[in-house]
């Protein structure tokens, strides 16, 4: 009698259960945990992709701590997060709230709002980059020049460049957030509103007592989702500033772009891994914090 046949029914069930579970477990170990652990190990090493990896101890982290570019990039990343997330959510909510009431061409308008989300970020960034150019090719500056207003340096400015890069990124994500908000709004039972109307409650009370509290799960999801999105912003910045990625003077450079640059232009893989670990920790903390703050009653 083989080993398997000697097992009891319950034990056989366990064997099968683990057999099926093994597939996702192996998948996760190979494509998620192994690279993550490897990146953490790499962050304590020096490697230029070519030779052997050599141990460097905490060198990469010490360099990171003393690197002024890193702190600038760190600030930029949080500016993207702290302007991007609230602004995009408020805009998305306002649009979704009013779109919900529109009957005329509702589907078409909704599709129009969703369209940018489906467009390639690269194509979009290049079009916006063209919008922002100085005279004679830039759309915005040409318009300003027609009205006799002096040009604005959108991208070639240390103060304007970050908002200029952020604007299309917010616009691009809006469609998705609007759709989710509308689904959330539709999920609120009509009877609550009917009861409120019968009681003659004001519009603001309806909003603050019924709509927003019942939208909480939707808001939590969108806040976490878009925060992670803005913390990982890369394609918009990279494509709008390709000639001088993250520039001018690092004023638009987010953490992911710095990681990319360190890894694939300077080939300093250990240092890039250290930056990745920092990003990983930030993402973890921000996500856990938001879940805790927003889900507690």
């Amino acid at each position: 009698m083989s080993f398997y046949e000697k097992l009891s029914v319950r034990q056989k069930q366990t064997v099968w259960a683990w057999g099926f579970l093994a597939i996702p477990i192996i998948f996760y170990v190979v494509v998620r945990f192994y690279p993550t652990v490897n990146a953490i190990i790499l962050s304590f090493q020096e490697w230029n992709l070519l030779g052997a990896r050599t141990w460097a101890g905490f060198d990469n982290y010490i360099t990171l701590y003393h690197d002024p570019v890193f702190w600038q990039v760190f600030r930029n990343t949080f500016v993207y997060l702290l302007i991007g997330t609230p602004l995009s959510l408020v805009l998305a909510f306002i649009i979704a709230y009013h779109l919900d009431r529109v009957r005329f061409l509702h589907g078409t308008i909704r599709a129009l709002y969703f369209l940018p989300f489906m467009t390639s970020a690269v194509a979009m960034a290049w079009v916006w980059r063209w919008f922002y150019q100085p005279v004679p090719i830039g759309l915005f500056n040409n318009m300003l020049a027609t009205f006799g207003i002096s040009q604005i340096a959108f991208l070639n400015s240390t103060t304007n460049a970050l908002p200029a890069v952020l604007a299309p990124a917010i616009w691009a994500g809006l469609g998705f957030q609007i759709i989710i908000f509308m689904a959330g709004l539709r999920a609120i039972p009509k009877t609550y509103y009917e009861a409120a109307h019968i009681d003659g409650v004001s519009g603001w009370t309806i909003m603050s007592e019924i709509t927003l509290p019942l939208l909480k799960p939707t808001i939590v999801f969108l806040v976490v989702f878009s925060s992670i999105g803005f913390l990982r912003i890369f394609d918009h910045v990279f494509n709008m500033t390709t000639n001088n990625p993250g520039g001018p003077l690092n004023s638009t450079k987010p953490l992911v772009l710095m990681i990319y640059d360190t890894a694939f232009n300077s080939f300093d893989m250990g240092y890039a891994a250290a930056q990745t670990v920092v990003l990983f920790v930030i993402l973890l903390i921000v996500s856990l914090l938001q879940l805790r703050l927003l889900q507690d009653r």
Partner: protein, 422 residues
């Protein structure tokens, strides 16, 4: 009859000889296959296919398999493959990567009996000597690239300018005549393009600094030498193009080459690799001139190149075959094919400085520039370029003084060099 017999016997002799030599050939190299890698660029692939078929015809028994990768993945793939024993036997590398490849022992030196050092020193352009380690050549190029001044013939005619500038003063004067602004003072046409993100960092580093009497790096290449009187004059002159003379703007039309292609720039400094793109631009009438000389007549130019090297994977007969292939890739014939197909210039004066190439209106100025060109030995090209870009940005966007910005850039680049040569 006698005649017939003689023919017959000589026929046998020839047959025996042929058989003998092919048997000998089989003993030496019995159908060796070597692999060659380069990055994907259509003209390069076409040129390499021609070179390989010529080489295979001349060397029966050796076949060369090629493999091309997109430029973005190239370095990573090579790095991963060679240690695993999977990669190429002969590989194409950017000259600036050589140090890393030598340190990682991914390539082998070229044996002096087949590639004698003195001969190479004598026959190739001097910048190739950057490929020498411990008196052995590690790699050699087929072709090199240099800088020249492109000018828009139509705009020159329109402004009544007869010839491209011969020196830096003339460059400023001509650029002023070519600059156009609208009623509000916005630039609509620049006299000369500018931008450290394009080729200007090479122009500034290897050309302007030298023309103002300095040099960019110390002789051992380990320290920055442009943080000097000459470096300052060079930077002041460069920044003045925009800030004082108003003949350029680094963000004009997004990219310098775009402005020139669109016919909105009078002059543009770029590499020989731009020829192809400009050739295809309809309605653009352009010419090429050597880079203008400095205040005291000093000529200088910057040259960069891709080299071929034998990897550490090639052993035994593959090594021998790889060396033969290398020898062909660095022959005059291969260089001329490369020039005709890709538009990159031969790495040897004997192949480059021919009467035909020198008198060519397009290639001529580039070829002549090679005679006095320098190659920067980069340790992190993009990092070093970024410092040049930021140096100018600080002056233009933050109003930092020119000497301060120069010193800050020099300190930054010194840190990169120190980190590499530690």
């Amino acid at each position: 009859m006698i005649k017939g017999r003689r023919v017959f016997s000589s026929g046998i002799m020839a047959g025996v000889l042929a058989l003998g030599s092919s048997m000998a050939a089989n003993v030496v190299r019995a159908d060796v296959e070597i692999e060659y890698w380069q990055y994907f660029f259509e003209a390069r692939v076409t040129a390499m296919d021609t070179l390989i078929s010529n080489f295979e015809a001349a060397n029966p028994g050796i076949t060369v398999k090629t493999n091309q990768f997109p430029y973005a993945d190239y370095r990573t793939k090579v790095a991963a493959a060679i240690p695993a024993g999977e990669g190429p036997d002969v590989v194409q590398l950017f000259y600036g990567w050589l140090n890393d490849y030598v340190d990682a022992e991914l390539i082998q030196p070229l044996p002096a009996d087949i590639f004698p050092v003195e001969t190479i020193d004598k026959e190739f352009f001097p910048m190739v000597q950057a490929m020498k380690r411990d008196d052995q050549y590690m790699a050699l190029p087929t072709a090199v690239r240099s800088l020249a001044l492109f000018y828009n013939q139509r705009l020159f005619d329109e402004a009544g300018i007869e010839a491209p500038p011969a020196n830096l003063d003339e460059l400023v004067e001509i650029a002023k005549k070519l600059t156009k602004r609208d009623g509000a003072g916005n630039l609509t046409q620049v006299g000369i393009t500018s931008g450290m993100t394009a080729q200007d960092h090479h122009w500034w580093r290897e050309v302007l600094v030298r023309q103002f009497g300095g040099k960019p790096y110390s002789d051992d290449l380990k320290s920055i030498a442009y943080d000097s009187e000459a470096g300052l004059k060079a930077l002041e002159w460069y920044v003045a193009l925009d800030q004082e003379h108003g003949v350029t703007d680094s963000t004009f039309m997004d990219e310098p080459q775009a402005a020139f292609k669109a016919g909105r720039a009078g002059m543009h400094i770029d590499g020989s690799f731009r020829i192809g793109a400009l050739d295809e631009t309809r309605g653009l009438k352009w010419g090429v001139a050597e880079l203008p000389v400095g205040p005291d007549g000093t000529q200088s130019n910057y040259s960069s190149y891709w080299v071929n090297a034998v990897t550490s994977k090639a052993k035994g007969e593959k090594f021998d075959a790889a060396l033969k292939f290398m020898a062909y890739l660095t022959s005059d014939e291969a260089m001329q094919i490369w020039l005709d197909t890709v538009g990159e210039l031969p790495a040897k004066p004997s192949a480059a400085l021919t009467e035909k190439n020198q008198s060519d209106p397009i290639y001529g100025p580039f070829v002549k520039g090679l005679g006095y060109a320098q190659s920067t030995v980069f340790v992190d090209e993009s990092g070093q370029r970024q410092l040049m870009t930021d140096m100018v940005s600080r002056i233009e966007l933050e109003g930092q003084s020119i000497p301060e910005s120069l010193s800050e850039a020099a300190a930054g680049e010194q840190a990169i060099l120190d980190d590499f040569y530690k």
